[in-house]
């Protein structure tokens, strides 16, 4: 049994840069590479692609990421764990095998499935309970007898179900790690579990040793957003300068059998790992630091200690944990109608006054049909919804209107009305743009964990 393993994180979201993972695999001396590519909404979008084409529904960048990585993983004997399976881990695994054959590489791939609850939602509806106070989510499920409805058309009414995926823990990945699969591709798995599984596997941790699982989960949480701990999404040229964001390195951790870890990055890459970057990432998206719930453990972040032990090296230890929850979170995706947007810019003398005249004019025309119409003045108060009483006269302002609608046709009216300001609105408006976006909403419910069983299929 090993005393230390090195785990790298080469992607923190579906659209992340490709080359940091290549650099980690080539120069990082890794045992494991993790690619975390599945946000809440990503899986609902993937489910829609799968329904349109049964061979799709895995991550759209899977081919490009795997084509670049596979020869290096094979050469350096690195195991890859990724949730790029999204809505279709089996087809994702088959695609990886196909790429390997083309490259003349022999590789075993394990697909971890079981998170998708679409087919059994009705059968297990008694085992589903509210998450927070989202009554709406329960109503979505009880009012739908089946998810297997035909693909939506432009006129689908809002609030129809698209997907239901439970967050699974380490179990399925552990089973896959016990096989000789070099690549493990999952669907919906809690992000830190992707990292915790190899620790449990290599160090032989008991799955009820909650202090170790809590500490391991914290290390996973630190790594899961990739560049966010190496100075990406941290840099501020005035207060938090970071060098070479253009070649930002992604992180790895040396994890020891007692759960302590050293977070670092490949020498020569851009960015920085220091106390400040690690603290920002530690608290990112944490709603209760005393009880950070995953399918594996309730992790306690308040006992964590951090120490900078060298250049780009931060030691993490002391995280603890308590018993895992008896329920699993389920992400429920639903058709939420369409977003209509329109934008137009004003600059120079009286720019804000002209933008406001345009905004007021369109509110008069649209408010009756779009009661939730939103008017933003970009450059003034669009992002923080206030300017904290700065009241500076901007040189240029971009007016933005947005509203929800049940159909794409109705949503398009917002952009059309903004565009019509060219001839009917205030002087000097320029750069009008219009957009219609199909909306996929996500709400959460809880399910009795006994109703979710992971399954591993080897290719």
């Amino acid at each position: 049994m090993k005393n230390k393993i090195r785990i790298g994180c080469g992607a923190g979201f579906s659209g992340d840069r490709l080359e940091p993972a290549i650099i980690l695999a080539e120069q990082g001396n890794l045992d494991y590479l993790v690619l975390e590519c599945l946000a809440e909404r990503t899986i609902a979008l993937a489910q829609k692609r799968k329904r349109a084409d049964a061979t799709k529904g895995y991550d759209p960048l899977l081919e490009r990421r795997i084509e670049g990585l596979l020869p290096i993983l094979a050469k350096n004997n690195i195991r890859l764990i990724t949730n790029m399976g999204a809505a279709n881990p089996i087809e994702g695994a088959k695609k990886i095998v196909e790429i390997a054959q083309k490259q003349g590489i022999s590789v075993k791939v394990a697909a971890v499935i079981g998170d998708e609850l679409s087919d059994k939602l009705v059968a297990i509806s008694d085992e589903i309970s509210k998450f927070n106070n989202e009554d709406f989510a329960i109503a979505l499920i009880t009012h739908h007898s089946s998810l297997n409805t035909p693909p939506s058309s432009l006129n689908t009414p809002p609030s129809s179900l698209i997907s239901a995926n439970a967050y699974m823990g380490v179990e399925g990945i552990l089973e896959a790690l016990r096989s000789d699969a070099q690549i493990i591709i999952t669907g919906r798995v809690a992000d830190p579990s992707l990292f915790l599984a190899p620790m449990i596997h290599e160090f032989g941790w008991a799955t009820d040793n909650y202090n170790l699982l809590g500490q391991g989960t914290i290390v996973g949480h630190l790594l899961e957003c990739a560049g966010q701990i190496t100075g990406g999404y941290f840099a501020d040229p005035i207060t938090k300068p970071v060098t070479n964001l253009d070649t930002l390195g992604h992180p790895f951790a040396d994890v020891f059998a007692d759960g302590s870890a050293i977070i670092s990055k490949v020498a020569g890459t851009g960015g920085v790992v220091n106390l400040a970057t690690v603290k920002e990432q530690l608290l990112y998206e944490v709603v209760n630091p005393h009880a950070y719930l995953t399918p594996d453990v309730s992790a306690n972040f308040t006992t964590v200690h951090l120490e900078e032990i060298g250049d780009n090296q931060v030691k993490v230890w002391g995280g603890t944990g308590q018993e895992k929850p008896s329920t699993l979170k389920v992400s429920v995706g639903y058709q939420a109608g369409f977003l209509g947007e329109g934008e137009i810019s004003y600059a120079g003398a009286n720019a804000l006054a002209r933008a406001q005249l345009a905004g007021d004019t369109l509110e008069k025309r649209l408010k009756a049909d779009f009661p939730d119409l939103r008017t933003d003045y970009v450059g003034v108060s669009a992002i923080h919804r206030t300017d904290f009483n700065h009241h500076l006269e901007p040189y240029e302002v971009r007016l933005r209107l947005a509203a929800n609608a049940a159909t794409a046709q109705k949503a398009a009216i917002i952009g059309e009305e903004v565009e019509a300001l060219y001839t009917n609105g205030p002087a000097g408006g320029g750069g009008a743009r219009k957009y219609v976006t199909e909306l996929v909403g996500i709400v959460s419910v809880l399910v009795n964990r006994k109703k979710v069983s992971p399954e591993v299929i080897l290719f």
Binding site: E40, E280, L283, Y284, N288, H305, I442
Partner: protein, 100 residues
């Protein structure tokens, strides 16, 4: 003086909840932040943004505070009409607070 001169922050989103860390550049300022940046002050400062409860967590081992703000994201990332649906830029809204 403004908060951004002595501390940094990252915003995170979970549903309609925004999480805002508050991390002093100098750990010595942690005690001051605990005393000065109360839930009441943050509520008042973010009154145009956060309509729900705010809970403050203290993390003395890493000299940091965490504010968990409910009903802060106009229904949340997937259905909000805002430009910044995640509320990712709200970290810098917290840091706009004027302090003594």
């Amino acid at each position: 003086m403004k908060l951004h001169q002595i501390a940094h922050s990252r915003a995170g989103d979970k549903g309609n909840t925004s999480t805002l860390s508050l991390i002093p550049y100098d750990a010595k300022d942690y005690e001051f932040l605990c005393k000065a940046i109360t839930v009441e002050r943050v509520k008042e400062h973010l009154k145009d943004i956060v309509s729900g409860e705010i809970v403050r967590y203290e993390l003395p081992t890493i000299s940091s505070l965490l504010f968990v703000c409910q009903d802060a994201l106009l229904t949340g990332v997937t259905t909000s009409l805002a430009i910044d649906t995640h509320g990712k830029a709200l970290s810098y809204a917290l840091l706009e607070m004027v302090i003594d």
